[in-house]
């Protein structure tokens, strides 16, 4: 634990490895292979890699067609341009016919700092989660990414994976860790409050838990790598055992992880609950960490929410 690892590098490695194991896997880019790093895949399998130019709707349609012929296409672009621009193709030509296409939303949230709001997607989880039957995932570190992508390749059906650009601390290289779609992971136990985090916010939630501990507050951290289907059990268990819940995500608080957890709680448990995330706002151009800071997406931001929710008990 504690090593830093590049999520996108891990993705590139596992995709190339899976390409070796399964010849049905195909990689498609919309001219952003410099970001998806699929050159690792295409170097070994040039005939199974396609750059279709800057045409994301076409890319997803092509993937749908290939999937009907038994291929397992992974399509790549920024989250803004897969989940955002190609929403209709994902919805009608991939998920509605339940085709085996894996849609990658690279450089999600503010991890694409300098490019500004046009390239910072804070709505993708919301868009992808509401398509009936879609599986929606978001890895928190390099290790989880590798296990997740392997599971996704084995799963027969449509998936969306939200991928951060940045490197993160590795938390999931712990004994007994086994990725499973739809099963959240308790990274550290606690009884005062549960912080349910996804993606790069898991790292910040772990820092927050450490700092809270120094103040005598015992926080449980849950890595919710699957946004859909959401792990109801782990949420209800956390509600029962801690009595206070904070969700944290580098995504709009409307429609993403916070909403998914709120839906489970509202129908089952009445506990103090706060959604931490992007408060219905567009980003800004700037260094990634600066944009995160601006939106309060820091360990300190999580700590403030944790204390506020505990105070409501």
């Amino acid at each position: 634990m504690g090593n830093t690892g590049s999520v996108k590098q891990a993705y590139a490695e596992i995709l190339a490895q899976l390409g070796k194991e399964n010849e049905k896997i195909v990689a498609i880019d919309a001219d952003l292979q410099a970001c998806s790093l699929t050159d690792k895949f295409s170097d070994s399998f040039p005939d199974r890699h396609f750059n279709v130019g800057i045409a994301e709707c076409n890319m997803v349609g092509i993937a749908a067609g290939m999937a009907t012929c038994g291929k397992i296409p992974f399509v790549h672009s920024f989250a803004m341009f897969t989940a955002g621009r190609a929403y209709d193709q994902i919805r009608n030509s991939v998920v509605y016919p339940h085709l085996n296409v894996k849609v990658m939303g690279m450089y999600a949230g503010f991890t694409n700092g300098e490019d500004g709001p046009t390239h910072q997607c804070v709505e993708d989880l919301s868009l992808m989660r509401t398509i009936p039957g879609n599986v929606v995932l978001c890895p928190s570190d390099a290790n989880e990414t590798k296990q997740m992508v392997r599971a996704v390749a084995e799963y027969d059906g449509p998936c969306y994976i939200r991928m951060p650009r940045s490197a993160t601390q590795t938390h999931t290289d712990i004994p007994g860790y086994q990725f499973e779609i739809g099963k959240g992971v308790e990274l550290c136990d606690g009884k005062d409050v549960a912080i349910i985090a996804t993606g790069i916010m898991v790292e910040r939630a772990m820092q927050a838990a450490q700092l809270l501990k120094e103040e005598g507050i015992c926080a449980r951290v849950i890595d919710m790598h699957t946004i859909k289907p959401i792990d109801r059990q782990i949420i209800l268990k956390a509600a029962d055992e801690t009595g206070a819940i904070v969700t944290t995500e580098d995504h709009n608080i409307i429609g993403g992880l916070g909403s998914a957890v709120a839906e489970v709680l509202a129908e089952n448990r009445c506990v103090p609950f706060i959604r931490h995330g992007v408060k219905d706002a567009f980003g800004k151009s700037g260094k990634f960490e600066a944009v995160m800071e601006l939106h309060g997406l820091t360990a300190q931001g999580i700590i403030a929410c944790a204390k506020a929710v505990i105070a409501q008990k």
Binding site: V26, G61, I62, G65, T68
Partner: protein
């Protein structure tokens, strides 16, 4: 079946499609009548598909990108034995799998369609997969002319020529009408031949409600080498029922009982006139 017999069949299938729409109280009759001869030519003379080949990886692939003409497609698939007539009679009823636009739970349907502009990119994917797998099949995509305003059509068109997909044939049902008027007045598609040629396609054009002309033109298009093929099939919307011919208002209209009887009568007459 020869061209004459198929021309008669196309009128008979129009009667069946009209019946589905009349009884199901929904459908796109003007478009069905427009596209019927194209679909008959494909399904009875060109497509290597049958109920027995549904999982055969070498079968031809057909995409009805203008998915709103589902009734025409369903009547043909039913006639070809993909599913029984009684099943199809549930068309557009609550819970029926025979939805207003095609979905792949229906035997013979390769992909859900109807969100316009989706079919060509999907066809490009099928054609690329066929090439990767060394399969001999061809991919046929039928598009409407109103649909050509969708940007994804041109993304697909660019990709098809970029990848030199000579196993892909697109047929445009060129009836010059769409929901709110003529294609020229709504969003002018311009000179389609030169537009597609400039995108690197081989282009053919023919009368689109004549089986013999369609048959010959599609045969020529299949011989295209190194480039995707386009057939501009010049059709008449509502073809076969004179009151609906070239009338945009019949795009999505359920006939009254009186109109339905007129439709059946006229289709029978037209069928009897074919020699």
């Amino acid at each position: 079946m020869n061209d004459t017999e198929l021309s008669r069949k196309a009128f008979l299938l129009r009667e069946q499609a009209a019946g589905l729409i009349y009884r199901g109280k929904s459908g796109h009759i003007g478009s069905d009548f427009s596209v019927m001869d194209i679909l008959v030519t494909l399904f009875y003379l060109h497509l290597n598909v049958s109920p027995a080949q549904q999982t055969d990886p070498s079968r031809d692939r057909f995409i009805l990108s203008k998915g709103h003409t589902a009734e025409a497609l369903y009547c043909i698939l039913c006639d070809k034995g993909f599913f029984p007539k009684e099943e199809l009679e549930t068309f557009c009823q609550f819970g029926s799998k025979y939805t207003g636009h095609p979905n792949k739970n229906i035997n013979g349907v390769e992909i859900n369609s109807g969100s316009l502009g989706h079919g060509l990119p999907v066809g490009v994917g099928m054609a690329l997969a066929g090439r990767m797998q060394g399969q001999p099949y061809r991919v046929y995509v039928v598009m409407g002319d109103g649909e050509l305003a969708e940007g994804s059509v041109w993304e697909g068109a660019m990709a098809a020529s970029h990848f030199k997909l000579d196993n892909l044939i697109v047929i445009i049902d060129r009836n010059r009408l769409q929901i709110s008027g003529t294609t020229e007045s709504v969003m002018n598609p311009g000179d389609l031949r030169s537009r597609f040629e400039s995108f690197g396609w081989q282009v053919w054009e023919c009368p689109g409600n004549r089986i013999d002309a369609l048959d010959q033109t599609i045969s020529e298009a299949k011989a295209s080498v190194g480039a995707p093929a386009l057939v501009i099939a010049n059709t008449i919307k509502g073809y076969g029922y004179s009151a609906a011919e070239n009338q945009a208002k019949w795009h999505h209209k359920v006939p009254s009982e009186e109109e339905y009887q007129q439709i059946l009568e006229e289709l029978k007459e037209r069928r009897a006139m074919i020699e």
